[in-house]
C-alpha cells in the first residue's frame, strides 16, 4: 500500500477550479517529483494534501482518509509541508523556528537538535539570529531543518529552488536526497526546475491545467520528446 494515495482529487479557489481529477501515489521512502508550468496546479496539489485548500476526492495517508483533516491535523499525522516562500517565521529566531518544527512532538528534543545540526552545522552559530535576516538559501535550509524536527513520514516541498543560485540549489537537493536516504522520509517535490528534479526523484508526474498529463519514472520522462522540449529545454 502506498504511503500517500490521491484519487480523483478536485480543488477550487472560489469559482476557479484548480485541480481536476488528480491521481497520484507516493510510496514509503520514495522521492517523487511534480512538474508543470506556472498555474498547472502543483502547489494546489500540495495544499490539498496538507488540507490548506478545500478539496474533494479521495486522499489517503497510509490508508487513512485525509478528507476531514486540516493542516494542524496533517502535521500530527506526519506530513511536513514546506510551502512556497518557505513558511519561515521571519520575526522569530532560528532556534525558535526549529523549536516550532517540533511542536507536534512530545518529549525531550535534544536528539532532534543534534540530528538537525548534523545536516546543517552552520545553524549552531546562528541560533539567536532573526530568521528573516538569513539569505534565501539559508532560509530554505532552515525550512528543511524545521521540517526535519518534525520527524515527518512525508515531506511536501514546494519549489525549494525558487530564487536561489545554482550552487545553492545543488546543495539543497543533495540534502533532500540525504534526508530521504537516512531518515526514510518520503518526499513529494514540486518544482519548475525539471532537470534537477528528474535527477533527484525516482518517479515524476507532469501536471497541465490541473490534471495529470504524464506519469512515469524519471528516465522514461526525460526520454520523452514532448517533455524534453517543454520542460528540459532541448
Amino acid at each position: 500500500m502506498p504511503l500517500l494515495a490521491l484519487r480523483d482529487v478536485d480543488a477550487r479557489y472560489g469559482q476557479v477550479q484548480a485541480l481536476r481529477g488528480v491521481s497520484l501515489t507516493v510510496d514509503e521512502g520514495e522521492i517523487v517529483a511534480m512538474l508543470g508550468a506556472n498555474g498547472a496546479g502543483k502547489t494546489t496539489t500540495l495544499r490539498a494534501i496538507s488540507g490548506t485548500v478545500r478539496r474533494s476526492g479521495t486522499l489517503e495517508l497510509d490508508g487513512r482518509s485525509l478528507a476531514r483533516t486540516g493542516p494542524e491535523q496533517a502535521a500530527r499525522l506526519g506530513v511536513a509541508h514546506v510551502p512556497e516562500g518557505r513558511g519561515t517565521f521571519s520575526e522569530l529566531t532560528v532556534w525558535e523556528n526549529l523549536r516550532l518544527g517540533a511542536h507536534t512532538r512530545r518529549g525531550p528534543l535534544n536528539d532532534d537538535f543534534q540530528r538537525v545540526l548534523g545536516y546543517f552545522p552552520w545553524l549552531e552559530g546562528r541560533r539567536a539570529q532573526q530568521a528573516g535576516t538569513l539569505s534565501g538559501g539559508e532560509q530554505q535550509m532552515l525550512a528543511l531543518a524545521r521540517a526535519l524536527m518534525q520527524r515527518p513520514r512525508l515531506l511536501l516541498l514546494d519549489e525549494p529552488s525558487l530564487g536561489l543560485a545554482p550552487l545553492v540549489v545543488a546543495e539543497i537537493f543533495r540534502i533532500v536526497r540525504e534526508l530521504n536516504e537516512r531518515e526514510g522520509a518520503a518526499v513529494l517535490l514540486v518544482e519548475q526546475n525539471a532537470r534537477t528534479s528528474l535527477s533527484t526523484a525516482a518517479r515524476a508526474y507532469v501536471l497541465e491545467v490541473g490534471a495529470v498529463a504524464y506519469a512515469g519514472t524519471s528516465e522514461e520522462l526525460s526520454e520523452r520528446d514532448s517533455i524534453r522540449r517543454s520542460y528540459l529545454g532541448y
Binding site: 494542524e72 509541508h81 510551502p83 513558511g87 519561515t88
Partner: protein, 324 residues
Amino acid sequence: MSVRVDRSWIVPALLVAGCIGLVVGSLSSSLFAQQTLSGLANGGIYASLAVALVLIYRATEVINFSQGAIATFTTYIAWQLMDWGLTYWLAFACTLGIAFAGGIALELVAIRPVERRGNVLSVVIASIGLLILVEGAIGYIWGNDIKFMPAPFPAHIYRIGGVAFSRQDIATILIALASVFVLWLLFQFTKLGLAMRAAAVRPEAARLVGIRVSWMLSLGWGLAAMLGAVAGMMAAASPSVLLQPSMMDGILIYAFAAAVLGGLDSAAGAVVGALAIGVTLNLLGSYVSWVTPQLLLPAAFVLMLVVLLVKPSGLFGHTTVRKV
C-alpha cells in the same frame, strides 16, 4: 548624493533623557517625586490594559473596544466574592481564574462567529457591541449605583527623605509590572507562548507545524481578560476611582493612547507609553496651571499625536509606512 541618517538612537535616547529628568526632578522636589510616583501608578493601570489591547491586536489586527468593560465586569465579580465573605487576595486570585475562562468563552461565543465570515472592521464593531452588552449586563446584575470596594491594604504612607509615598501606589506599580513580566516569561520561554507568538505573526505557517491557531486566539483573549482584571482591581483600589459600570471607560481611552504611542504591535511599547502618559499627565496637572482636569484627556492624545507625527508606527512599532 544624500546621506542616510540612522535615526534609531532617537527613541532610546529620549527615554533615557526622560528618566534622568524624572530622577533629577524627584530628588529636588518632594512634590515632583510624589506626582511622579502616583503618575507611575496610574501608568501601571493603563499599562495592564494597554498590553491586553496589544495582545489581541497583534493576533488579529482588531482593537478590542470591550476590553475595559470586561475588566470592569471582572472587578465586579471580585467585589461580589468579597461581599460573600472571601478575603481580598483570595477573591483576586479567583477573579483571575474566572477572567481567564470568561475571556476564552467570550471569544468562542461572540467573536469567533464574526471572525469566521467577516473582516477586521466587522469584528471591531462586534467588540463595540460587546462593550455595550457587558456594561449593560453589569447594570442589570448589580445596578448602576456606586459600590464600595474594600482596599487591599490599610492605607499607609511611607516617608523617605521627606517625601510621602502611598503603599497603594507602590503596590499598584509592582503588581502591574509583575503581571506584564509574568506574561512576558510565558511568551518567551514556554512552548505554548512560542506557539501563540507564531500564530500571531504567521497563522498559515503556524497551522502547517501543527499549531491550532484558533485555540491560540481564544487563549489570547483569556490572557487579555486576566490582564484587564488586574487593571480593574488596581483601579478600584485607587481612591479616586469609583466602582461603577463605567469605571474603566476613561482608563480604556488612556490605554488606547498608550498602546498607539508605543506601537500597537509592541507590548513593551505599550508599557513604556502607559508609564509615560501616566507620569506626564500628573506632572502637567500639577505644574502647568492652565491644564485643568478636563484637558488631561486631550493632553494624552496630543502626546500620542506628537509621537506619531515623528514616528508614525509608534515608539517601538514595526509597521512600515508606505509613502506614495
